[in-house]
């Protein structure tokens, strides 16, 4: 069964259509890449999965539950299963990197301090940020903030993790490390992953399927090999533009 289903979702902001009948499904245990031009509503799409935004029309189902019609408690249950890396990192400015990463564990789980420390250290290690544990967000670079946000998203080892541009602003070597990390979490713990990315080359390498969104609709959704070989003119144009950029 699909874990997340978008059914003809429409969303506009002050008259401007962002999602215009978006339909697609996310299978349990897969890594889905969400690609598309800047400003097409990729971040908006992710926010719909956890009801940070609600559709004007259509439905979003998570495990069969309509997220905009469900009760507060059901929503909490859904959110507790989701890790979310925001495009901006969204770290709290008055906490150190370590405290930021520990926050979801301290506030929502009954784990002991020792266990929390162990998990936080492991998450920071995984994103190669162990040295910056005691620094405040304002004291580290944009790419480091992004990785700290990533550590916070993965530390709970949720069922689903939504990554909004996990590698933007990172050097190629670190990007590959991050891709490997996402893949490892997916393979070892079965974490369903949705990765918004502009790194099409990278995405073709480590994801199970790619979804191309343009003008608020799903244009193509297929496995990397098929995606690369697609004859859909929009996909060809997108692939050509990406190659041209490289």
């Amino acid at each position: 069964m699909s874990l997340v289903v978008f059914e003809n979702v429409k969303k506009q902001f002050s008259g401007r259509k962002v999602l215009d009948g978006l339909s697609f499904e996310i299978e349990k245990g897969e890594i889905l890449a969400l690609v598309g031009p800047s400003g097409t509503g990729k971040s908006v799409t992710l926010k719909h999965i956890v009801r940070l935004l609600e559709p004007d029309e259509g439905r979003v189902l998570v495990d069969g539950v309509d997220v905009s019609a469900c009760s507060r408690r059901e929503l909490e249950a859904i959110r507790s299963r989701v890790g979310y890396l925001f495009q901006s990192g969204a770290l709290l400015a008055w906490m150190t990197v370590e405290e930021n990463v520990a926050l979801p564990l301290r506030e929502c789980t009954g784990l002991s301090e020792d266990e929390i420390d162990r998990r936080v250290a492991a998450a920071l290690d995984a994103v190669e940020l162990a040295d910056a544990a005691d620094k405040y967000p304002a004291e580290i670079s944009g790419g480091m903030q992004k990785r700290a946000g990533l550590a916070r998203a993965i530390v709970r080892e949720s069922d689903v993790i939504l990554y909004d541009e996990p590698t933007s602003g990172l050097d190629p070597v670190t990007s590959i490390t991050i891709h490997r990390l996402i893949k490892k979490l997916n393979r070892e713990l079965g974490i369903t992953s949705v990765v918004v990315t502009h790194d099409l080359q990278g995405a073709l390498g480590f994801t199970d399927r790619l979804l191309l969104v343009k003008d608020g609709r799903a244009v193509e959704c297929s496995a990397p090999a098929e995606f690369a070989a697609s004859t859909n003119p929009v996909v060809r144009e997108f692939l050509a533009a990406m190659k041209g950029e490289l």
Binding site: V50, L52, E76, R79, Y84, A90, L92, E107, C108
Partner: protein, 248 residues
Amino acid sequence: MSFTREVGRTTRVMLASVAAFPSVFRSRDSRRDFGVQLYKTGIGTLPVVTVVSLFTGMILALQVGLELRRFNQEIYLGAAVMITLIREMAPFSCGMCLAACVGSAIAAELGTMAVNDEIAALEIMSIPPIRFLAAPRLLALVVMAPVLAFFCCVVGTLGGGVVGATQLGVNFEQYMASAMSIADVKDLATGLAKAVVFGLVIGTVSVAQGLGTSLGATGVGRATQRSVIISFLLILMLGYMITRVCYQ
């Protein structure tokens, strides 16, 4: 329509935050955060409040003293300054200081957090922003506003006494005796109650404006501006209404 919706939202923020006050003392981290907020609200505004209250008292003494002198009634200067301060001016001027110094900062801080998705991040982690952010800030204002108003009253009265002694020829001890004779418990209680209400209003308005921010940096600017303006207006209107209810 949007006005009533805004009022409804602000009221809900207030009720939810007040209901979350006990959670401020629950964990070590939240107590520490509350301490930080108390410090920012109380100690952080002390220099401004001191200057404002000193000059409020001095202006009051000068204006009233000049009039009293025409009737040779300078001995009542202390009483006049004290009664004005304790009933009205102390809670009013400290409310203005808090709205300008603390309320604006809260609106800007929470507004920035909202546009940076930090509020959304808290929601995803099932940490209610009302409990985590609003309650400690609001409680700090409610606790510190009456303390500052009392301080304001003391400093203002002393300032008035200095003006009386140096410019109006009123003996300082006589001034203080007159001031102390007039102040009664009811005046103090209403003055402090006003300050509590102002603290609650400033906190609620700035938290609601901050959390409701959208549209980037412009939105943060607008939220900050609105929090200060709305707080000022409400302080004036509620100040009048409380006076009416208590003294008529």
